[in-house]
């Protein structure tokens, strides 16, 4: 899709370096993969309890846990939890990404009187330990009758998201103003500049934002635990924390299974992550 590809061609003097690089890579990947692999193995353990293991490895393997995870829903309704989490994630991902990118772009591109004070204020606000404000969020939701409603989560997640705009702003700060100015001279209005220029060139950071904001509801349990009272409305994270103490396999299986959508999302988006800005700009 783009300019000439510079292929790396092997040269003998590079061999030690290449070998070294790969050794480090393999080591790093092992470090990251091993605990996950261990979880995966645990999820296939036939006994279900973790103390029948021989060190890191289960004594026997079976698929029973996964079968139980999806069929034995009387106590732990995993399929519902998965649906709920997906629902919350998709909507809060879409909303937060939009809001964050909008905020970051605005803060980076425009100069207005309230800008620096706003930047300082958000920084200070983000210092506040979040769980101290949980009581208030709970009361707000009670006040608006949003307890036991998945939308309350989406609301809180996306409303809080713009606070983390600094990362994205850092990205926009490295984009040359000339691109925008050229568009302005061509007669594009500011909203048009945003949709036609900014969004296309911010793919890497869009992907980053989308990925992180999609993943957040999968791992957060403090908020849903407070706002969702009914067991069948729980998200996966809440559900997993309430599993019985001898259900380690199920815990592991549940954990693995919620990692899958995130990994899929990553793979489907990963090529945008490394598309450079300059390329995008040339394309337009």
């Amino acid at each position: 899709m783009k300019t000439k590809k510079r292929r790396w061609t092997p040269r003998w003097k590079n061999v030690p370096e290449v070998a070294g690089t790969y050794v480090i890579l393999i080591a790093v990947c092992f470090i990251f993969f091993f605990p996950v692999l261990w979880l995966v193995l645990a999820s296939f353990s036939s006994s279900g309890a973790i103390y029948d293991f021989d060190g890191f490895f289960p004594a026997g393997y079976s698929l029973l846990t996964y079968q139980k995870l999806f069929t034995d829903t009387q106590m732990y309704d995993y399929p519902s939890w998965l649906r709920n989490t997906l629902f919350v994630s998709v909507f809060s991902c879409a909303l937060s990404t939009l809001l964050v990118i909008l905020t970051a772009y605005t803060m980076s591109r425009f100069r207005f009187r309230m800008r620096k004070p706003l930047m300082k204020t958000t920084l200070i606000l983000s210092m506040f330990p979040s769980f101290m404000g949980m009581t208030a969020v709970y009361l707000i939701m009670i006040n608006f009758n949003l307890i036991n409603n998945l939308w309350s989560l989406i609301l809180v997640y996306s409303a809080g998201a713009p606070m983390g705009y600094l990362v994205q702003k850092g990205y926009f700060d490295t984009i040359s103003n000339t691109i925008y100015e050229a568009a302005r001279i061509d007669g594009a209005s500011n909203p048009q500049v945003f949709t036609r220029i900014t969004l296309p060139i911010s793919k890497p950071i869009l992907v980053y934002t989308a990925l992180t904001s999609f993943a957040w509801p999968w791992s957060d349990f403090i908020l849903p635990n407070m706002l969702l009272k009914n067991r069948d409305l729980w998200t996966v994270a809440v559900g997993l924390t309430h599993l019985g103490e001898t259900e380690f396999s199920r815990f592991a299986a549940g954990a693995i299974f919620i990692a899958v959508p995130i990994v899929i999302l990553y793979f489907s988006l990963s090529r945008f992550l490394i598309t450079g800005v300059s390329e995008g700009a040339v394309k337009e």
Binding site: M1, S47, A49, I50, Y51, D52, G60, Q74, M75, S80, R83, N84, L86, F87, V90, F91, A94, Y138, I142, I147, N148, N149, L150, K229, N230, R231, D232, L233, H242, G244, E245, T246, F248, S268, K283
Partner: protein, 490 residues
Amino acid sequence: MLRKKQVLCGILAVIMGVSMTGCGSSGEKSETEKKADEVKASGGEEMIVLRILENDTAKSEGYLDELLEAFNKEYEGQIQAVDANMEEYSNLAENGPYGYGPDVIYQANDKLMTYAEDKHILALNKEDYDCREYIPQEAWDAFTMTIDGTQYLCGIPVNVQEPMLFYRKDLLPENWEQEWDQDGNQVPDFLENWNDLYAYSKSIVEESGNSKWGLVAPCNDLYMSAGFLFSYGAYVFGEDTKDIGLAAGDAATGMMALRQFAGIMNEECIDDSIKQSRYSKVADGTYFCSISTPDTYVLFHDRLAKIYEEEGISQAEADQKAAENIGMVELPRLLPAKGDLSVPSADMEEKEWVSNVVMGGVNGYGISAYTKHREACVTFVNFATGYDLVKKRAEILGIAPTRSDVASDIGGVSGMIFESLNEGHIYLMPSVKAVDQIWDPMQTLLSDVAKDAFRERNGETVKYPDQDAMQAALEKVSKNIYDAIYTLAQ
């Protein structure tokens, strides 16, 4: 470029679609609410719906379903009881006032009475309940609180809990009747007194060369280890909560005994490991016995049955064999008054023993103060505490009922626990909120005491070489608890 966008949009749309339909079906309205709606729709005149919060085991073992079914059949057309569908420990104080709590709640006395203190659950009239004649005073006391000199009853007791010893009958030494039954009462001595349990555990460890153990218990859990405090004169809160009581009497002696026993356990007794590993490790014979609550009997049993099944026998046989081989008894009754477990029991005289007093709890029903149907709740609780259902509960869940008639009819362990409550071997935690503040500090101390035994074994500096050091530690913890309760309060 454009194509990619379309593909991406497509994927997103599909995901959204899936999650939307998912939520359309079950997300937006909970099962309970749906049920409630159905009732309204079909019933013509409005029927009362009660939300019942039972504990997780009652739910997973199927007791709750039977209870609801029985009740709904009895009161068909008038009252319908449904599962509250909430988390077992969901906080009534937080949910109740805003209408998200259950109507009837089943919980341990300390938890329930914390709610009672702020009037989140109703004061009840004992006369409304048919079970009143069969339940001993101790159990009622657990649910009684005094405000301005008037006593209020806030819960109806259903079952008693105390830590139990789970052991493997098939792993008893073959010659136990000769070697370990000096009083000849057909009960191994190491199930009767702690000195023999110590001696027996020690012999297992030594014979196996540190690969098998006798008793390995969660030492850091106050609930399981409290016997080493209460049996020696300690208590929780005296006249009022200003008197902490954990360092009272010869508590330090008891703690030294605990430290001594920890020395022949495995390191798992220091942290929470044992709480999850006990089922597997007792089942595979690594540990001869462990301590847990009676409601975990199922877990011990199932784990052992699974092992038998893997050995190749049928499920039914495995179940039966496991039931035969898992023993559940009360903790040994006798502790050495001087705190030295290594003295052979033969050398101990009658008066050198103290009787073991363990920590226990009574579970029961309370009625939320925010319910709209108080009368119906009373009806439900009365029904659920009746002979048939308490008996069913005991049969399905293996709990020890507080109803004397059920206890004597079932007999066995349930009967024993009931007797213990009657005879004062079970110390019930006081029903005040301040109890919340003793758990974490005590857990730290107990873990430290257990760890100290291993410090000694590994040749590190020990923290509690003698009783004085232990006494000082107990007093310090008591002071910390006092500070946590009073210094910060208004």
